[in-house]
């Protein structure tokens, strides 16, 4: 989502990379695990089949019914600060990899969320309209943004863009 961080506040003259690198200190290896008490985890009784991450700090929880929940990682949520507004896609939207599916705003900036997968939006987390702070309190869980029915489930395993937890963690420490 931070590939093209939109309009970071002028005063903070595009410090995004720096801001994130300093907040890396608070990152730890357990902070990007899916919250097992969340709606996302409980969507199917057996939980998700796979969790993936992107270099743009999105997470993807993939279920056996070939749908995936999408949200932003703890790292991204901490870098943004207090989330004040979340713009959601609409149910029925058809998306390709890299399409904008919404945005997350804090007081100082707005960041686009890009779909890491192709498919159709089948559910949105409209609780975020009244409680955008869920992105801060439970980013990888009840702060999910959209559920997408995958048009090409086989692409998940072959994708080089989708990272395992370990690969994602390594990408953070490389930055």
């Amino acid at each position: 989502m931070f590939r093209t961080l939109l309009r970071t506040s002028p005063l903070v003259a595009r410090p995004s990379a720096r801001l994130f690198s300093t907040s890396r200190a608070v990152f730890n290896s357990t902070s990007h695990k899916l919250n097992k008490d969340s709606h996302v985890y409980k969507y199917l009784q057996e939980g998700p089949s796979t969790i993936k991450y992107t270099a743009e700090h999105e997470w993807l929880a993939i279920f056996k019914d070939d749908s995936a929940f999408v949200g932003i990682t703890t790292y991204a949520s901490e870098a943004l600060g207090d989330v004040t507004f979340v713009e959601l896609p609409e149910v029925g939207d058809k998306v390709e990899v890299g399409d904008t599916i919404g945005s997350v705003e804090s007081v100082k900036s707005a960041s686009e969320i890009y779909s890491p997968v192709a498919g159709e939006v089948v559910a949105i987390n409209d609780v975020l309209e009244s409680e955008p702070q869920l992105i801060n309190t439970d980013p990888i869980g009840n702060g999910w943004i959209a559920q997408i029915k995958l048009s090409d489930p086989a692409a998940i395993e072959s994708s080089e863009e989708l990272l395992s937890a370990e690969e994602y963690e390594n990408s953070l420490s490389e930055n």
């Binding site: 002028p10 003259a13 720096r18 600060g81 004040t84 713009e87 705003e105 100082k108």
Partner: protein
């Protein structure tokens, strides 16, 4: 006649300068970012942006603004120089009084905004923006060749203390009666810093809309720097219920709510103070004879209001926040302006923004703002969004 002060600040590995308070920012958990050539705190740990913002509106926030450039302008023609490069009337300004003004180019555009303090008929102190440092210095250097003036710049600790409890906090460190220092006034006074007493310059002013002060604390020697650093830490460590350090993030949202301009956004070299809704910066006494840079254009705009089509004004909205550069349309779909700064308002809820909009759009009228390709509803609103609480006695 021009000398540039030796830069006493250390440089980091990335060639970023550090202010004398840098060590304390790191100690207090500041997230440091590059800003105008300095490494400055944007936020501090355990304080979200909104918490920092609200703290300043209810307590006292400490802002390190040492990256701003301080100038001394002295000599028999100091007033003449300043009254050429800005539209200020220094005759009506008393000793130890200060005023906002603007450095103007020959087309009446704003090179920078500045605060000018009068210390005597031939003795002035000015503070300008960090981001405009190079061009301001060149501009002043070019202008002063025609004047008998000594101009020098210096860097020191510049600390803004802002909020309803700012006076109560600072009073603990000086015997000077701060209730006698009103908004727009300054004093040299003794401040109990760390182990010693330091002679500092205190101005009752600020950039948040709250009551508050800006302290210029000498930091030319390591001993002076240590005193300034110690004072900053004492404020935070000994008065944790009143004082917190506040970063750049909240500084921007506070000034936006207070309707104040940020250079490079509301103010540019292409915009005159009249277009920027800052006609009050040209006092009556300067409107007859002009004589300042760009005065023919600026006085022309004052005489013929129809020559100015757009003005700086507020915008309110819900939903995604307007941001710099967003286009503004009227109800009929005609493009009528653009946003220069915008963010959610921690004080008021909803979003607030500053914009340049066609003057025909009156306060209260509905507008559309294009944000991420979609038109969103907004409303023209008056500035400031949050009323200023300056101490006027």
């Amino acid at each position: 006649m021009f000398k540039r002060a030796q830069n006493k600040f250390y440089s980091t590995s990335a060639n970023l300068l550090k202010t004398p308070l840098h060590e304390a920012h790191v100690e207090f958990g500041g997230k440091m970012v590059p800003y105008a050539g300095f490494e400055m705190p944007v936020l501090y740990k355990d304080q979200s942006h909104i918490e920092s913002h609200n703290w300043v509106r209810s307590k006292a926030g400490l802002f390190d603004v040492s990256h701003m450039l301080q100038h001394t302008i002295q000599g028999p023609q100091a007033r003449a120089l300043l009254e050429k490069i800005t539209p200020i009337d220094l005759g009506s300004l008393g000793v130890n009084q200060l005023s906002l003004s603007v450095l103007l180019n020959n087309e009446g555009g704003v090179i920078d905004d500045c605060i000018i303090t009068k210390h005597g008929d031939n003795d002035y102190y000015m503070v300008t923006n960090a981001g405009c440092r190079e061009k301001d210095v060149k501009f002043i250097k070019d202008e002063l060749t025609a004047f008998d003036v000594n101009h020098s710049t210096f860097e020191g600790t510049l600390l803004a203390v802002q909020g309803p409890q700012a006076a109560e906090l600072l009073q603990k460190f000086t015997t000077e009666d701060l209730s006698k220092v009103y908004f727009g006034e300054s004093r040299y006074l003794d401040l109990k810093t760390g182990g010693a007493t330091t002679r500092i310059h205190l101005a009752r002013s600020g950039y948040t809309g709250e009551d508050g002060f800006e302290l210029s604390i000498p930091s030319g020697t390591p001993a002076e720097q240590a005193e300034a650093l110690s004072f900053f830490k004492v404020l935070i460590n000994e008065y944790p219920d009143i004082a917190k350090p506040i970063g750049l993030a909240a500084r921007d949202s506070l000034r936006l709510e207070a309707g104040m301009c940020l250079y490079g956004h509301e103010l540019t070299e292409e915009i005159t103070p009249i277009q920027a809704s800052l006609a009050w910066l040209i006092p009556k006494s300067r409107r007859a004879d002009g004589g300042f840079n760009g005065s023919s254009k600026i006085l022309g705009q004052l005489a013929d209001k129809s020559s100015v089509t757009h003005r700086r004004i507020g915008v309110k909205s819900k939903g995604p926040s307007p941001r710099d550069g967003n286009k503004i349309f009227n109800a009929e779909g005609k493009e009528i302006g653009y946003i220069t700064s915008g963010s959610p308002s921690p004080t008021l809820g909803g979003n607030v923004a500053q914009a340049y909009i066609d003057k025909s759009a009156k306060i209260g009228s509905g507008i559309k703002i294009e944000i991420r390709g979609k038109l969103r509803d907004g409303e023209v609103a008056k500035l400031p969004f949050v009323p200023s609480k300056f101490y006027k006695g």
